[in-house]
């Protein structure tokens, strides 16, 4: 894998993605660690000259997670000057390549479009890219210090996710195709960061009319078997 070439990308434009996954208990996000620096950052990328923005983000996610057709939502575009940190970028390149030119397109200012994704944690084997030596899951309530304004970006993503949770059936990709009501509730609780009342949660979800009920799941537990549900995919 080689470094990205300037010529094929739109200059000054990047995207950063906050990739949420659900472990069965906690909400997590994918973070990269750069070679030999101890620095963490969000996975991001650049947009090709003749590539739609949305497609660029999908491509990046595909490369890093191997997943096709995942839920993606754009939430904000970051364009302040505090974002500009050429020295940091220089150190990242230096940590990997002995010779770094005085000028490099990665040292320029970038305006970055923020996206978040919701994916099935269990289906992913995260792939590091050329600049990072590891990529891994971290609890959203224990995110380390990140480069640039990436902590701020994570905050904004979480806020957006929380306030739009009901309207869209966001949880689609955080769970397997079929799931129990308890699992769905755990997803909500992990995202909102607070316990929900079981009985009321069930009623509320069913009243939304977005769930289809299937046969019961005999879990082997010594208790009543729960129904399985799936989301009704509309148009």
């Amino acid at each position: 894998m080689s470094l990205p070439e300037a010529v094929q990308y739109l200059p000054h434009i990047a995207y950063d993605s906050v990739i949420f996954g659900f472990s069965g208990e906690k909400l997590k996000i994918l973070l990269m660690e750069y070679h030999n620096t101890g620095w963490f950052a969000l996975p991001g990328g650049f947009v090709k000259i003749n590539e739609p923005l949305d497609e660029a983000v999908s491509r990046g996610l595909r490369e890093r997670t191997g997943l096709e057709s995942i839920y993606l939502e754009q939430f904000y575009t970051f364009g302040s000057l505090e974002r500009v940190r050429p020295e940091a970028m220089r150190k990242i390149l230096q940590a990997q390549h002995k010779v770094v030119p005085e000028k490099h397109w990665l040292f320029e200012r970038f305006i970055s479009v923020g996206y978040y994704a919701l994916i099935d944690y269990t289906k992913v084997e995260p792939q590091p890219d050329a600049l990072s030596d590891s990529i891994d899951w971290y609890d959203v309530d224990a995110v380390p210090q990140l480069l640039f304004d990436h902590n701020h970006i994570v905050e904004k993503a979480l806020e957006h996710l929380r306030t739009h949770l009901d309207q869209k059936l966001l949880s689609v990709n955080l769970l397997p195709e079929r799931f129990t009501m308890k699992e769905l509730q755990q997803v909500y609780e992990a995202i909102l960061g607070e316990k929900q009342n079981r009985a009321n949660f069930q009623r509320k979800m069913l009243s939304l009319g977005i769930l289809e009920r299937h046969e019961k799941l005999y879990s082997g537990g010594s208790h009543k078997a729960p129904y399985l549900y799936s989301f009704i995919v509309q148009n």
Copy 2:
């Protein structure tokens, strides 16, 4: 006024602004008409090399409306390929300048960040820029056909404005400093596109705790004088 020079702006990045105003009855937006083409478009602009994105948009608005410190909200970033319409841009330049070079930075692809603003309709004398020969108010429910994807951008802005109306005290800049409850209600009705119940609207607004009541306004009408209100500006 001269054409924008490529060198001072970030390439491939633009913003488009949907500027809402309230006439006392209807919600309106500002649209530009290009010289000798009959084409309409949203007012937009570019970001200088060392300028924060937000500041670039404020600057553009200041130049076009003369207003300082107005409510601005970023709502979406548009990056599809359907946006790219070099022929249209060429015609716009041709309509004004006899000689147009084969290549020009304005013919390149742009990713555009959408913002909307809420301003006091009565305080503005819209200023056309170098490319447009007029800029004027149009009813939101009678927007003409616009260039590029600008009709789509207006749709998105309206949708965002409607769904976030309660949370933020958005109406701040659509009305004069002090206003009656009836005026505020008219703003809401114009934005939401539906009548509100007078009594309940009053209670709801007061319960939000964001309004300060002032002395009564003796309007001269033969009826009870209404109170004046202003928004309480917090932190």
